[in-house]
């Protein structure tokens, strides 16, 4: 072995890259050993936890607590010390409506527009997402030759960034885009997809499903593959029709996974922002303005910045999300217990 193999070259390169890191680790040893002599073996647990918990504390827990105080202050100043206490005024403003169903009758009409848009989006998107993910998972669970290849096909868009997703579809849905070319070839009238309200909504729903369905299909596929094969064999021996097998075996046994996926999709749909923002910018008008975009714009982007109002809106959204997440954790725990039995 005089010629070094590629693998050895690679591991050699890895060793060179890791050398400075290893050096830092070695230099850290004496002070940390001293720390261990002071704090004891178990005391080192605190040291190992510290960096992660510090980041959690500063960037998650602290803002979470502060957010409640923020929502009770007014003005445009950023720092809490410069802001005036206004009590529940921000919430009152959000809820000041003659009729909640009609955003135009509200002081903050944009908030209620965003609320109702989000509600509509959630209902439609969740239903289609779960159905498409389920069908995809069922198809992938069949006796396919190259299952991992097909699984990867549906997973591809999940990895793309929301900005790329938004731009790819903007390019296809624009007035002179590929989709209109398809319609033109079929002799149909082209549609201005992102300019007409209902089509823009459909585009937002469709694109968000396109981007994420592979992820949920994957979870459902894992659930399908966990169903014992002998159940299907027994059903086949009894000559059970496929439709009946689906309703009586597949669906009931998949129900826990379906429920998990349903709640995950719900949680994500309530927070929809990135890809729709790049795709439509919330337009036409306010047709695809959703809650997160409202919070972002009121908090940061608009001329009439109002951080307190954005905080209040984000707390209301957070409350909905916490209920949904607790629900999800409850299901997960129940599934786990069922698995143990």
């Amino acid at each position: 072995m005089t010629v070094s193999s590629p693998r050895r070259v690679l591991s050699g390169a890895g060793a060179i890259l890791m050398a400075p890191v290893a050096l830092v680790a070695r230099l850290l040893d004496p002070p940390l050993s001293a720390l261990q002599r002071v704090g004891g073996t178990n005391g080192m647990a605190a040291f190992f936890l510290l960096p992660n918990m510090a980041v959690f504390g500063i960037f998650v827990l602290f803002p979470l607590v502060i957010n409640i105080i923020y929502s009770m202050t007014g003005g445009t100043a950023l720092f809490l010390t410069d802001r005036t206490f206004v009590g529940a005024a921000q919430y009152q403003r959000l809820f000041d409506c003659r009729s909640y169903v009609d955003p135009k009758s509200c002081t903050d009409d944009l908030f209620w527009t965003a609320v109702w848009n989000t509600a509509g989006f959630v209902v439609v998107q969740v239903v289609f997402m779960v159905v498409v993910a389920l069908v995809t998972a069922l198809v992938l669970n069949r006796d396919l030759k190259a299952r991992s290849f097909w699984r990867a096909v549906f997973f591809f868009p999940v990895l793309l960034s929301p900005v790329v997703v938004g731009l790819v579809w903007r390019w296809i849905l624009q007035r002179q885009g590929l989709l209109n070319f398809g319609l033109y070839e079929l002799g149909l009238t082209p549609v201005n997809w992102l300019v007409e309200r209902n089509w823009a909504f459909a585009a937002a729903v469709g694109v968000s499903i396109w981007a994420h369905v592979g992820f949920y299909a994957l979870i459902l596929l894992a659930g399908l593959q966990a169903i014992p094969k002998d159940l299907y064999e027994a059903a086949e021996m009894d000559g059970t029709r496929p439709a009946r097998v689906f309703w009586r075996i597949t669906l009931p046994l998949l129900a826990p996974n379906l429920l998990v996926v349903l709640v995950l999709v719900l949680i994500r749909a309530v927070q929809i922002f990135d890809e729709v923002y790049v795709l439509t910018g919330g337009g036409p008008g306010t047709a695809t303005l959703y809650l997160t975009q409202y919070i972002y714009e009121v908090g940061f982007a608009s001329f009439l910045r109002n951080p307190g109002l954005a905080s209040a809106a984000s707390i209301l959204m957070g409350a909905v999300l916490i209920v949904l997440t607790l629900f999800q954790l409850g299901i997960a725990r129940r599934n786990e217990m069922r698995g143990k039995r």
Partner: protein, 350 residues
């Protein structure tokens, strides 16, 4: 003929053809077209010149009007195929056009110009890949800087994520201390707090620390991922405690145990977390959008969004840069996709 159809419609196990078989193939092939088609169309379009992009109906291949340098004219002249009165065709170059009549010249005989009705001619087109779409943004715009910012954020955030998460996971899996379950509870609780709920106070915290308009302001809030801590902890629980006890007998310090024993043994899980982290941080949008307002600090995602928001979108540059932004993720997809899919199927994380 019947043999062929029999071959095509034959199924494994010798059972009959069922409508679900046809549906399966419809779904798989339709899915293939739907999932890859848009990205392929993007890559395809990114090689077209602005004129070709404006064309409707669009062509598959990137065409440009052919041009030739003719003696006596400084710039290359566009070439047209002109139908002569006798029915034959000839390639001429356009000197200028007035209304429906064009003055044209035969490149072989540069001296004399001919007047041609524009209805009698067709542009000569040739396939040409507009590579300038890719080169120009790096030369005249700041795309190299955006790329560098994106790489910096992704690499730094991933290194810190691996370090802090693995340390926390080590503490939570290999030590018995009071409040361990409380710490776990806090980590679970943070799963419930998406970024969009704490935007305003988080931004003020970052600003108070002097990190607004800084790449570190983008990196730091993202590094303590609860999913990462969970995944690594689950993996470390499978490492036998005897190894640690033996190392302690040999007078190894706790830091050495973490560094020399635990980390190397956790390598597979660390690799999966690294892949996730790279994809997450490369794709991040909302938080960098808020923190970074100065152009020279933009990451690729923010730069793309900004260029896409201009009134006169330069689609030829935008499409090419979208492709560049897609490259790392496509590489992950091609080479590392199975780690991600098994990671999700196993732990249900994202």
């Amino acid at each position: 003929m019947s043999r062929v159809t029999e071959f095509i419609f034959r199924r494994r196990g010798g059972r009959g053809w069922h409508w679900t078989d046809a549906f399966t193939w419809f779904w798989l092939i339709g899915g293939f077209v739907m999932m890859f088609g848009p990205a392929i169309w993007l890559v395809n379009s990114s090689f077209k010149s602005p004129a070709a992009l404006a064309e409707f109906p669009p062509t598959i291949l990137p065409y440009v009007t052919a041009a030739a340098t003719v003696e006596g004219h400084e710039k290359p002249l566009p070439l047209y195929e002109v139908t002569q009165p006798d029915g034959s065709t000839k390639v001429l170059a356009e000197v200028r056009r007035v209304g429906t009549v064009a003055q044209m010249v035969d490149p072989a005989v540069p001296g004399e110009t001919v007047r041609v009705n524009i209805q009698d001619r067709k542009p000569v087109r040739e396939v040409a890949f507009a590579v300038t779409n890719y080169v120009q943004p790096f030369l005249s715009f700041d795309f190299f800087r955006y790329l560098r910012n994106s790489v910096f954020v992704t690499v730094m955030a991933t290194i810190i994520t691996l370090l802090t998460n693995s340390m926390a996971a080590f503490a939570l899996s290999k030590y018995n201390f009071r409040g361990r379950s409380f710490v776990m509870l806090i980590i679970i609780a943070t799963l419930m707090v998406p970024l969009s709920v704490i935007l305003v106070p988080l931004y003020s915290a970052i600003t108070a620390m002097g990190l607004s308009n800084s790449l570190w302001g983008v990196i730091l809030p993202t590094v303590a991922t609860p999913t990462g801590v969970f995944m690594l902890r689950q993996y470390m629980l499978t490492i036998p405690d005897e190894l640690i006890d033996a190392a302690r007998m040999d007078k190894a310090s706790e830091w050495q145990i973490y560094w020399r024993i635990i980390l190397p043994l956790t390598a597979p899980a660390l690799a999966v977390l690294a892949i996730f982290s790279v994809v997450w941080r490369w794709n991040d949008f909302l938080w960098p959008l808020i923190v970074l307002t100065r152009r020279e600090l933009f990451t690729l995602q923010i730069a793309l969004n900004t260029y896409a928001g201009e009134t006169n979108i330069q689609w030829h540059f935008l499409l090419a840069m979208t492709v560049v932004t897609m490259i790392p993720v496509v590489l992950v997809f091609v080479f590392l996709q199975r780690f991600i899919t098994t990671g999700i199927a196993g732990a249900g994380l994202k």
